[in-house]
Subunit: 332 residues, 4 copies
């Protein structure tokens, strides 16, 4: 552990790109139960009822689905300066972005695989308008009990052409702890790495892009407080015609109780609970080989092929200039 | 067991009286998540997403809160005729009511304490309009995931000046099984009796009216599938400014996992799960004396005084000609 | 509805055959948390903590796994006589069996497919010894919180060479209501039928035996009160090295929240919650064709091939004279 | 934030004193489902199935119940040295304790109220013996599904003659963040403060000792993953004759879903889930005045008088030289 450690405090916000912004907004607001708090240009800003920040999800209209910018909040202004300097020195800096809705100036950069990220310190805390004020003083917003009612942003998983350089980048330049890894081929092939700058099991995962592409998204993930909430969310998704890709079930890696579906723009979204917190400063990463990892589940049925094959943007669709083809799962 | 048994199949519908129909409707539709399916005169008809009938709750504007008509569905047309004949013979008949929304002709009567009831056979099954059609073929209506999302009507509890004659009426003329009883004073004082015509633990309870009044309501109760749903409902109620009277907690009697609140018209409403089904044809009623009954809870804190003292209509308020005073519980 | 209806009140007991009685006992007692209350000859009798009867499961050593006798409790002694007469008249009677542990004399018979069944009336209620007495007066036995802690016997599913004659037998001679059906080939092929003599969604299911055999078992099923208990049970099973075949997940048909595993003797056992109660006396059976039935699940991944192909006794194993081969699912 | 911050990583272990070690051990092992891993002198060491350390609870026989030593794990060896130096400089040091079971050398000290604490860095990770090895590679121990099955140590609450100096000590010398406070008398009377060195809402709370005593314990708390687990634990406690003091219910402060009972030695123990994680580096402590704090619950019934009046050791009992009198709550 060195000074790097602790400079990045937590995942602050995700920007999601979508070719169908209206339906994507419907999914997050009406089906997942988030609040839309601001609109600017081609973007809408949303939040979960338990997020302390004004906005944690930004939906931006784009030609293809995928991840926009991944924002990390630092522990202090000094930490922000330190991260900026170190990342610039590593040659990955993009530049400063002045204030945008919800947070102050941010230093933008790209991870080795090319995903756009930023670090920032100043965050606008959410002040609920009267009709969204909670009766619970320490809850930033009323629990509106609409749809799946996700509580807060939890983590994301990125596809990367090669996992190792991105994992090392997250460790060395973002100060993250390595929590678990899937490594095949007798320790030679790094399939995935799960990392976090705080006791949350993982705030980011890098997973090998089987298509050999770069800069793509596997999924973003929202937290609910109990496994029963995940089961309930499955009912909500199916009743709203949303295809469930996998779950509700329990991962072996991370112990997360997961439910994956596709928002109408084509991006994979997880509703998530369980997992475990990591407190040990000398945590020894748990590694899984082919046999141990198995199909990625602790119980029941294997994850489907699409879970390995599909990311956003969809490589084939983008190359062909057609709409991304979301894997279809018949809800009946 | 004789032919009486099985003539009444299940609790079909409840009519609730309210001096504040708009706020009462808001409570059941927006907070509890029921659907309003029909309006007629001073009444609105509602249903839970899992109720097979078109409507199971009827809200009617009235000077005072309380119970309107309690409707029991019979097993057949012949059973309806048999019940009519037997009840008339007992001198409790009121007369036939022709078809109203949702069900066919009904024979109305009063229990010994004066509560209005009816038996009927023909029931209009719910056919959901397109926007409320479930993706689950055996679910009558879409799970809309709004508010507490109660699934179906479960039971009611009536206050009675004397419990025994009403309990015997339910056994002898409605063919109900006696499931549990609270009997104080060394077996001489029948405080409450819980009965049902089917394996549901109780479809009706009679509880002694401590005020010595007649024809009053203690509570009506709606089912949710899991205890977690009851906990979630508590959050929903408090966020909507609804006073919780008691729970979520577990009764000793019935094992029900309960949550009592007051709808804005003043009536007590329960959100309920757990309990147990009774299959034995020779069930021996479980009786509780003062020491065993205790405070009515299996865990934790006693039921409040209001649980014993308050029913609708509120005797004092009605006599004084003022608005009923709902017991107030500070949500903070 | 006629007098037949209501003569059979509920599923009373199941006898399970096992070639490995010690390990089978371990599964039900230590993993599922049932109590062993009696041993006689090659049989051990068990119960769930919520079962009112002394015993609801009988494990009997046998050369092959499978179902032994299926016991139905009648509503009265007269009902028992009526059922005996009607079944004998249909030519399916086997004869009277005098009292055995836990219940009085029983009339044995075979359903058209050859499964052994019996009807009986007299039932020994459970009187818990001191160390198993519950602090809850209406709970027959202490909740011991061991393993999956199943509450009570719920239902069973039998394989049958042809479904229709068995379904009609259950309707006509056991007085059951038909609740749901899976019918393929434009209404010509009855794949499965779900029936019950009471509001429980199904107490028995008949499913087509794809191997063309007779008298076989698909699964027996135990109830837990909440979906969370089913999820918890999955953890318990895997920690004890028990292979999970399918679930936890939600069926479309029946809405049951299921978890299937194999007890060490080779029989499929379900841990179950959810589903829905049926109160309507004029219930219209819900039918599912190929497209609607899909893979049998409301959410997520299809039921595995073994769910269709495997029953007990295992036809291939029995013919070859070898130990039944339980489908293996790698828990990792 | 300064270098102090982050030196203390997490609550590592609690030592509980008990005049009845056998029954106390029974409570934690058989009722709460923890594993006893080591015995030494008058102490037994235990762990929850999800704790990464070899032991997180130490039960020590003593004349009176109460808290023994509170152990905090540091982020590194250097951090341990820094904390030692700073605490000694503040005049609160006691001295170094060489290695004991489960962790390396520890620097002991007293908080201003006199509670014994220690900081240490070296921790023995749990290596499960074969019969306690989990099938889940990232779970330190088999989930044994015995009793309430608590997962891990979560936090503790100490009584203090004056809250402010202890709260400042925790902030300044242990580097904790202040999360919530209860302050009465127009901001002049600090009733309680909740703090943590990591995103867990609170790892320690200081609450005013209404008896004016020093060095006493309010409660220790163990985590379960879902609210349903807390409800299930209530059943387990009552079935084992353990008096529940309060809950299951939801605190307003902390949003914790709590269940308080007394272990047979007299100490208050909480089974706990819910609450919320705090990620903001600039978190503004939430303060509650008399009106806002109310009875300490978000739903339902007030916390009982004993929750304010009783701590361990019990002042009256100790002074009188008699056994502590645990508040009695009739489970019926």
């Amino acid at each position: 552990m060195n000074e790097t450690h602790q400079d990045v405090r937590h995942l602050g916000r995700l920007e999601l790109l979508t070719p169908g912004p209206e339906r994507t907004l419907w999914y997050f607001r009406d089906v997942l139960g988030m609040e839309a708090v601001h609109t600017q240009g081609k973007s809408v800003y949303l939040r979960g009822y338990g997020d302390y920040a004004a906005a944690t999800l930004k939906i931006t209209e784009a030609a293809n689905p995928g991840i926009g910018c991944v924002s990390w909040r630092t522990s202090s202004r000094a930490a922000l300066e330190r991260r900026c300097k170190a990342i610039e020195h590593a040659g990955l800096g993009v530049g400063w972005l002045e204030e945008e809705f919800g947070h102050g100036r941010a230093f933008r950069f790209r991870d080795p695989d090319g995903h756009l990220m930023e670090v920032y310190y100043e965050e606008q805390k959410y002040r609920a308008p009267d009709h969204l004020r909670s009766t619970l003083k320490n809850l930033p917003q009323k629990f509106t009990a609409r749809g799946a009612s996700v509580r807060r942003l939890d983590h994301l998983a990125l596809l990367a052409n090669e996992v190792a350089p991105n994992r090392r980048f997250a460790q060395d330049l973002l100060g993250m702890d390595l929590r678990e890894q899937v490594i095949f081929d007798e320790g030679k092939l790094e399939i995935g790495s799960w990392l976090s700058p705080n006791p949350v099991h993982h705030s980011i995962a890098y997973v090998k892009d089987i298509k050999g592409a770069s800069g793509r998204l596997h999924h973003i993930s929202f937290w609910v407080d109990n496994r029963e909430d995940v089961l309930r969310a499955a009912d909500v998704l199916v009743e709203n015609g949303i295809a469930i890709e996998a779950g509700p079930s329990k991962h072996n890696n991370s112990q997360g109780f997961y439910l994956y579906s596709f928002e109408p723009g084509g991006n994979r979204v997880e509703i998530y609970s369980g997992s475990y917190l990591v407190f040990a400063p000398d945590w020894e990463p748990v590694t899984w080989n082919e046999a141990e990892r198995g199909t990625g589940v602790y119980w029941g049925t294997p994850l489907p092929e699409s879970f390995i094959n599909y990311g956003t943007p969809d490589v084939e669709a983008t190359t062909a200039g057609v709409q991304p083809k979301i894997p279809v799962f018949d809800p009946i």
